[in-house]
């Protein structure tokens, strides 16, 4: 008996250990099997082999937080031929939804050795839902992020667009691409547990622009109507706050719809307001007079004897009307837009000081606006080969110099703004997903002329509108402005095109406390005069803006002061 119990006692630990060992092995086998299932068998819908996670591109809003550029999705429909059960029936059911013919669909999905066949690209959500509702095996939809440009053609040049790789090009999309696109991460699936599984993408900043969607829409309508009415080639209107440099509207016609960028001619991508150069013409008499007054080359009571034409180193320069105006004041020079007067003032000023002021007004250099593809324009100075006094004379009334429309607005805005040149901008603030805000502060680039000179020139420009360019006048408001009619250089034949002109008007209101400045530029209208074409367009825009911004007429404002 004792032997039997001793043997049992000896056997007990063996059995227990064997049991424990077996249990452990069993548990490990179960766990290994589970792990094998999740990570090795790896059904396609469990662990994607390679997955990239992109940060969501930031949206773009106007100054009133109206969304003008937002994200949307397009869908690609593809087939995995090996998964398709009935090729003919699948093709028949897909046929009404696709632009492909029945034969083309069959051709693409019949080859069962092919892993993937693209059937449609760029479908809307509704189209995709229609196809996926068929529940066809082997038919898959892939979402592709795209952008939706709410204002379409009206703000095409300002917005820019993103290409198929979601890379920003032109406009705000191009300039602020890095800020908008955020940070992407890529994930790899399979055996290894990748730390990137736990890193998340970061969304891009939302941009709030200084642009006002309503003003942009209204101005776009007015411009299109004007271009069509005057049978012009195109035009540009810029509306800016002269006190801050904030751009409220920037419209060109013709424009392009960024939603359809792929089918648009690339020439239209370029924003003429910042990338096309032109000779501004008489608008530049404003800066010439301001410079001459500020430098003390002329005084407020300076007069000259206008003889219709004058000769400068052998070249004859005449007034546009070829009329001798006799003794003429500075105000009259601007009112009648007399080239001879401008030449008189610039001769008194001298080349060194004129070009210093031109540089100070921002001509021949980038304005620094936060839009992609800005050009600097061109100013010929005494350092330029072939420069002569004729250049000095023609520059005084805006010929022989290349500027962008935005440069002209910024320069005249300096006069409106007490002589302070502001840096133009379109982005008011950038808001990060975590709430961090990057705010743009209005920047004074420099004081170009004294506030007194600016005030006097404004007074003269009010006289221009009230006395001569009455088609720009808005009843009840004091409006300051100047027309410009410039000839167009002919690069092939040299000289200027005989009949074509670019007409413009730049003005601001109310003149004593300007709330906005507007440039209207019309290219090659059939009526070649700024006062006949651009001034009425300015009036339409200004009248509407004064009501939109609820700016009461002058006598109300005076009474309330």
């Amino acid at each position: 008996m004792e032997d039997v119990s001793a043997i049992k006692l000896q056997r007990q630990p063996r059995r227990r250990l064997a049991l424990l060992f077996t249990a452990l092995v069993g548990v490990m086998l179960i766990l290994a099997a589970r792990l094998f299932y999740w990570q090795v068998l790896s059904p396609e819908d469990v662990v994607p082999q390679q997955e990239a996670q992109s940060g969501v591109r930031g949206e773009i809003l106007d100054k009133h937080r109206l969304r003008i550029v937002i994200n949307r999705f397009e869908y690609d429909i593809s087939a995995a031929p090996s998964e398709i059960e009935n090729v003919e029936r699948t093709a028949q059911q897909l046929d009404p939804y696709l632009s492909l013919s029945m034969e083309e669909i069959l051709e693409r999905i019949r080859d069962r050795e092919q892993r993937y066949a693209l059937l449609a690209q760029g479908l809307s959500a509704a189209q995709k839902d229609g196809i996926m509702a068929l529940g066809l095996p082997g038919i898959h939809a892939t979402a592709r992020p795209r952008r939706f440009y709410v204002l379409g053609e009206e703000a095409g040049h300002v917005a820019g667009f993103v290409n198929w790789e979601l890379k920003g090009a032109y406009g705000v999309e191009g300039y602020y691409d890095e800020l908008l696109q955020g940070v992407s991460v890529s994930r790899s699936g399979g055996f290894l547990i990748n730390p990137h599984h736990f890193a998340s993408a970061r969304d891009g900043y939302d941009l709030v622009l200084t642009l006002d969607g309503t003003i942009q829409h209204m101005v776009a309508q007015v411009l299109q109507e004007a271009v069509e009415r005057y049978q012009a080639d195109g035009g540009t209107i810029i509306v800016m706050d002269p006190r801050s440099g904030a751009i409220w509207a920037m419209v060109n016609y013709p424009s392009f719809d960024p939603n359809e960028f792929a089918t648009t001619s690339q020439e239209l991508y370029v924003n003429p307001a910042i990338s096309h150069q032109y000779e501004p013409g008489s608008v530049l008499k404003v800066t010439t007079v301001a410079a001459a007054l500020d430098a003390g080359a002329i005084a407020l009571d300076t007069t000259y004897e206008d003889t219709a034409c004058m000769t400068v180193v052998g070249a004859t320069i005449c007034n546009w009307d070829r009329i001798a105006h006799g003794t003429t004041t500075i105000t009259e020079t601007l009112q009648h837009s007399l080239n001879v007067g401008a030449v008189h003032y610039v001769m008194a000023l001298g080349p060194e000081r004129l070009y210093r002021y031109m540089e100070a007004f921002g001509f021949g250099q980038l304005t620094g606006v936060d839009l992609a593809n800005e050009v600097a324009g061109m100013v010929r100075t005494p350092d330029t080969p072939d420069w002569s006094l004729v250049d000095l004379a023609t520059n005084s009334f805006g010929q022989g110099i290349a500027t962008t429309p935005l440069q002209v607005v910024v320069a005249i805005a300096a006069v409106a703004n007490g002589g302070r040149l502001m840096k133009p901008y379109v982005m008011e603030r950038a808001v990060a997903p975590d709430g961090t805000v990057l705010q743009t502060q209005p920047t004074v680039v420099r004081q170009v002329v004294s506030p007194q000179v600016a005030r006097e020139v404004t007074r003269m420009l009010v006289a221009v509108v009230e006395g001569e360019v009455t088609k720009a006048a808005v009843p009840g408001y004091s409006v300051a402005g100047k027309t410009g009619t410039a000839q167009i250089p002919d690069p092939e034949k040299g000289g200027y095109e005989p009949h074509a002109t670019i007409v413009s008007f730049v003005g601001y209101a109310p003149s004593y406390d300007p709330r906005f400045i507007v440039l209207v530029k019309i290219d090659r209208p059939h009526v070649p005069r700024g006062s006949e074409v651009a001034a009425p367009v300015f009036k339409t825009v200004a009248e509407w803006l004064l009501a939109y911004l609820a700016i009461p007429p002058d006598h109300f404002q005076m009474a309330s002061r």
């Binding site: 589970r34 990570q39 469990v46 829409h217 109300f556």
Partner: protein, 159 residues
């Protein structure tokens, strides 16, 4: 076979030198098993969680796509051009003339009424006021009865 190698043999003392060695081997084996067990458990949990995250990601993406679609529709409907068209359909037209109203900014017009006049009546005040008015009416009638004021009487058929 493995059990034969590591377990004490029949008649062998567990405290003999061979037995001690086997015990150590068993201990190492147990620890190794524990380590593998923990690793496998953790890896398995991570794999399951990864799958759940992926599924939630998928749901999130679907919701984001729906949201984007709705945002596009809202944006298209609230675009200035669409609003203008809608307004015109409803009969609105651009204003031909904007009129500004001149508010009287004189001191009299801007004078604020006394606070007592603006103060809201307290609870029961309305009733008290009614009572006071009633008494006032009684007193005035009584006074009129005591001392009637002379009224010109037009006699009918006066000359």
């Amino acid at each position: 076979m493995a059990a034969k190698l590591f377990l004490p043999q029949r008649g062998e003392s567990p405290w003999s030198p061979q037995g001690r060695t086997r015990r150590w081997i068993l201990l190492y084996l147990a620890l190794l098993c524990l380590g593998i067990f923990l690793h496998l458990t953790l890896a398995s949990q991570i794999a399951i969680l990864s799958y759940r995250i992926w599924k939630l990601d998928e749901q999130k993406q679907a919701l984001e796509q729906q949201r984007a679609e709705i945002m596009v529709q809202i944006a298209a409907m609230t675009a200035p051009a669409a609003l203008e068209e809608k307004a015109r359909e409803l009969g609105f037209v651009p204003a031909e003339e904007v009129l500004y109203i001149v508010l009287d900014r004189s001191e009299e017009a801007l004078m604020v009424p006394p606070e007592s006049a603006l103060a809201a009546p307290e609870e029961g005040t309305a009733e008290d006021t009614d009572g006071a008015a009633w008494w006032q009416e009684i007193i005035s009638r009584f006074a009129a009865w005591i001392a009637p004021t002379s009224r010109p009487v037009e006699a009918e058929g006066s000359p």
